[in-house]
């Protein structure tokens, strides 16, 4: 039993699987982005090279930083994402409810942002602190819509909050995305995960050209490698989450495998397209967008779901 749990956690669908798939999808992101800009793009294993090279580099730590927080934050972020990946992956691949339900995952995703904020602000660097503040505001912006997005499958499935029950409901009654409320929630959901992953146009906390990677500015060496890996792991976690909540999960037999890959890639490609066609917006614009447009839209989705549409 323990060996089995550890296998899930460290190999599949947890750390190793999510990490490797994340780095590969990260390559896809870089390649497609390159095509958008008429460049060639990196070779397929570039992200792996980057990661291992960073592991071998020197770690520079600010003298006055709160060192334990500075060091633990990226590793804790990595642990949180691995945990989410395991919970979501077990639901998706094994149809198994494990360790936590939707509220737990919702709060764990917030925990990752907490790690970014704590890590960033532990250094005392002005850019990091500004970035940390923006990370928090961005979380507030997308969280309201994100909660409403979560509610749609909950309401649709008859108030179940466990992933396996939501999948079960969809296997019997068709995917949530097949209904008007599901479509609305799915669209808002894509925007939310774009913000949760701080991808353009919501890369406000990092804003390379403005505040120099924000919270990650003082990071280098292995710790930076973990932050980068964390970022790529989210390319797996959040699309999988949407697949569970709205697309009825994966059916990994015969032609189902092709469908599974297509479902996943469809979400990733939409995200990459949004990423490459939008400039960065200001944080107040993001707040306004999510609170005044996206959340009411998602709320309409919830009302429709309550009415059974």
């Amino acid at each position: 039993m323990i060996a089995w749990i550890l296998f899930h956690l460290f190999v599949f669908p947890g750390m190793l699987f999510t990490g490797v798939l994340g780095l590969l999808v990260g390559w896809l992101d870089r390649k497609v982005s390159a095509w958008f800009q008429f460049r060639v793009g990196p070779p397929i294993l570039q992200n792996f090279n980057d990661f291992f090279k960073l592991l071998g580099k020197e770690t520079i730590i600010v003298k006055n930083a709160v060192k334990p927080v500075f060091i633990v934050a990226p590793l804790a972020g990595f642990a949180v994402l691995t945990l989410i990946a395991t919970i979501i992956g077990l639901a998706l691949f094994y149809n198994e409810g494990f360790a936590g339900d939707m509220f737990v995952v919702m709060y764990l995703t917030m925990t990752f942002s907490v790690m970014v904020i704590l890590g960033g602000s532990s250094t005392g660097n002005v850019y990091s602190s500004i970035g940390a503040g923006r990370e928090m505001k961005l979380l507030l912006a997308d969280e309201l819509a994100f909660i409403l997005v979560f509610l749609v499958p909950i309401v649709k499935s008859g108030y179940h909050i466990q992933f396996d029950q939501i999948l079960q409901y969809q296997q019997l009654n068709g995917a949530v995305i097949g209904s008007p409320s599901g479509i609305i929630a799915f669209i808002v959901g894509i925007l939310c995960i774009q913000a949760k992953m701080t991808l353009p146009p919501f890369h406000i906390p990092e804003a390379e050209t403005e505040i120099v990677e924000g919270p990650f500015m003082e990071y280098s060496g292995p710790l930076l490698a973990f932050w980068k890996l964390d970022h790529y792991m989210m390319y797996v976690i959040f699309p999988f989450l949407l697949v569970i909540l709205f697309m009825g999960g994966f059916n990994l037999t015969g032609i189902g495998i092709l469908w599974a890959v297509l479902k996943y890639l469809a979400i990733v490609v939409v995200m990459i397209i949004i990423k490459n066609t939008n400039p960065r917006i200001r944080i107040d614009t993001a707040l306004n967008f999510f609170w005044k447009y996206a959340s009411p839209l998602a709320f309409i989705g919830v009302i429709l779901a309550v009415l059974g549409v």
Partner: protein, 605 residues
């Protein structure tokens, strides 16, 4: 009246307080400490025995049941832990008075919790209000008199409603005695509603819920920090929510609409208070607003009518007393070292006060509902209760309940936001140069916050096995409520173990390959000057300035939404009118007399 454990629980602290009046400070501390240990032992005995009564003049005054036993247990636990903090470091000028008021408050609170008789409940309730006022007067800021007055008027004024409610309950009581908690009265007719709302106002004012919350932030800002952790953060919460639980469980049988009204008030409390907390620049005021906002969850849980949510609400009450007093005390430690509670003047203390930082961080994560700490567990149960209610409601109620649920969940994201600001402003970010020589707080202070932090973790990991099973399920059983199945699934220990093993792996990897160099902050080659310091207080300026929130915030800062200010303005304008017509001129008085006679004639004829 015979002497038993129950009478001792009330009388011992009162006697200690009286004896303390004549002792030197050091003996007062020792006596308080010993008395609280004794009370703790007594209370555990009472909890285990589960019975005990006090009879006076042939009337049952006090009685033990599951709810009162566990609430009073937490009164003793919290009082004991906060007393450890107060052993060293209380302002010398107020220390003597503080050590007299402290056991007095404990005794009165015990009296409230065990009273089953309207009159004794009322007396003890009023006395706790008076000690609250006296604690408020111990502050040493320029606003202290105003805050104390405000506290007295809101909390004391709500006692009027309590009296009204209790008298009406006596009228409606089928047995016609002053015994409360007999048979629940159905909520039918005007009298029942007036009585219900009277009692509700008293509970809300004590717990500090919207719209009677405004004394909590002011009290927190201006009174001594120990008393802020002691009363509004823990004991008053316990009393207020205790009364609310009695109202909804024993005194009245609520209708669905009334449950919904209470849930809505709870959700509004959560969101309004947390929005105010976010923009505060004063650390104590920030925590004070959170003390209000957390009440919202408890009210939602206890008043909802769902058993899962009831368990969650009572559990949240315990959790809140633990982490909120932890945070107040941690801020108190910092304040005593730096001499300020203004968040703008602090920063980077995490390296100087590592233990205080660690415990405050645990408290902050717990209050924000980060798994696996205790705050998440109780919130998670309350959310499930809301969903369970929504499941069986009609579509209109469904949407209403879901809105309340969304507000509550979003409220906890906002809580996280304001605590990230709090932690950043005090412990992280850049340290101002004048704080370079700060040292860790004295041992008694970090032991006190440390115990509370450990409780946060223990109650989070073994929530089902320890607090819920030991304290809350007996209450549910006593009221004959069926314990329902959970909707969700959450295993905190597993989550912590998995998280910990991955974190450990990461640390091992980092440790084995690290090559560390220490350097200054990098600012693109510029010198890192003091004015490049980001204060966490500015984090949410965009939200403050967003329309339409800006107008609301401006209104709130002018106190347009403060019941106390609005009603005092109303009463002042009425007195101004009377002042204007009493100007001392004989002709005018004659005119009034003539007018009065005319009106009298018109009425009589």
């Amino acid at each position: 009246m015979q002497i038993n454990d129950l009478t001792l629980l009330v009388s011992v602290p009162i006697v200690v307080a009286i004896v303390n009046l004549f002792l030197p400070v050091i003996l007062r501390k020792i006596l308080n400490f010993l008395a609280l240990i004794y009370l703790l032992v007594l209370n555990i005995q009472i909890l285990q025995a589960g019975m005990g009564t006090v009879v006076l003049f042939g009337q049952t005054i006090m009685q033990v049941d599951a709810l009162s036993a566990f609430i009073s247990l937490f009164i003793q636990i919290l009082s004991f832990i906060i007393l450890i903090f107060a052993l060293k470091g209380v302002d010398k000028s107020i220390e003597k008075a503080f050590l007299v008021l402290y056991p007095l408050t404990v005794g009165f609170c015990n009296g409230v919790v065990f009273s089953t008789n309207s009159i004794s409940l009322l007396i003890f309730w009023g006395l706790t209000g008076i000690t609250l006022y006296l604690f408020a007067l111990l502050g040493n800021t320029s606003d202290t008199p105003n805050s104390a007055k405000k506290t007295m008027i809101i909390v004391g004024g709500s006692d009027v409603f309590l009296i009204l409610g209790l008298i009406l309950v006596w009228f409606m009581n089928p047995i016609g005695s002053w015994q409360l908690f007999g048979e629940a009265i159905p909520l039918k007719g005007l009298m029942a509603y007036i009585a219900f709302f009277g009692l509700l106002i008293a509970a809300f004012a004590k717990a500090g819920s919207f719209p009677l919350h405004s004394w909590v932030p002011d009290f927190s800002k201006d009174s001594p920090v120990e008393s802020a952790a002691f009363l509004p953060a823990s004991l008053d919460k316990l009393l207020g929510i205790y009364l609310l639980a009695r109202i909804v469980l024993s005194i009245f049988k609520l209708t669905t609409v009334m449950h919904l009204v209470i849930i809505t008030l709870g959700a509004l409390t959560v969101i309004i208070a947390v929005m105010m907390a976010m923009i505060q620049h004063n650390g104590r005021k920030l925590l004070g607003y959170h003390a209000v906002s957390q009440v919202g969850y408890m009210i939602m849980g206890v008043g909802s009518g769902s058993v899962i949510a009831l368990i969650g609400g009572l559990f949240h009450l315990l959790n809140n007393t633990i982490y909120k007093s932890n945070l107040f005390l941690a801020l108190g430690s910092v304040e005593k070292k730096t001499g300020t509670n203004n968040l703008e003047q602090m920063g980077g203390l995490g390296t100087k006060m590592p233990l205080t930082f660690l415990f405050a961080l645990i408290g902050a994560l717990a209050i924000s509902g980060i798994p696996p700490f205790n705050g998440f567990f109780s919130k998670w149960m309350i959310y499930q209760g809301m969903l369970e209610l929504a499941k069986n409601a009609s579509p209109g109620y469904k949407i209403w309940l879901l809105i309340c649920l969304v507000l509550a969940v979003f409220g906890s994201a906002l809580t996280l936001a304001s605590f990230m600001k709090f932690i950043h402003a005090i412990f992280l970010g850049r340290r101002p140069e004048n704080l370079d020589n700060i040292e860790e707080a004295p041992a008694n202070q970090w032991i006190s916050t440390g115990i509370l932090a450990v409780l946060c973790i223990v109650f989070g990991l073994w929530a089902m096995q320890l607090p819920i099973k030991q304290f809350i399920l007996p209450v549910v059983n006593e009221y004959g409520l069926a314990i329902p199945d959970m909707l969700g699934y959450y295993n905190p220990i597993l989550i912590l173990l998995l998280f910990g093993s991955v974190l450990l792996l990461g640390l091992i990897i980092y440790w084995s390959i690290r090559k560390v160099r220490y350097d200054e902050i990098y600012l693109g080659g510029m010198e890192a000057l003091e004015h490049f310091r980001v204060m966490g207080t500015e984090f949410y300026k965009e939200i403050r300035n967003m329309s339409p929130l800006k107008a609301i915030y401006n209104g709130a800062e002018k106190k347009y939404f403060d019941v106390y200010d609005v009603s005092s303005k109303c009463s002042f304008s009425i007195t101004r009118f009377f002042k204007a017509i009493h100007n001392g001129q004989l002709q005018l008085y004659n005119l009034w007399i003539v007018l009065g006679v005319l009106i009298l004639l018109w009425v009589v004829l």
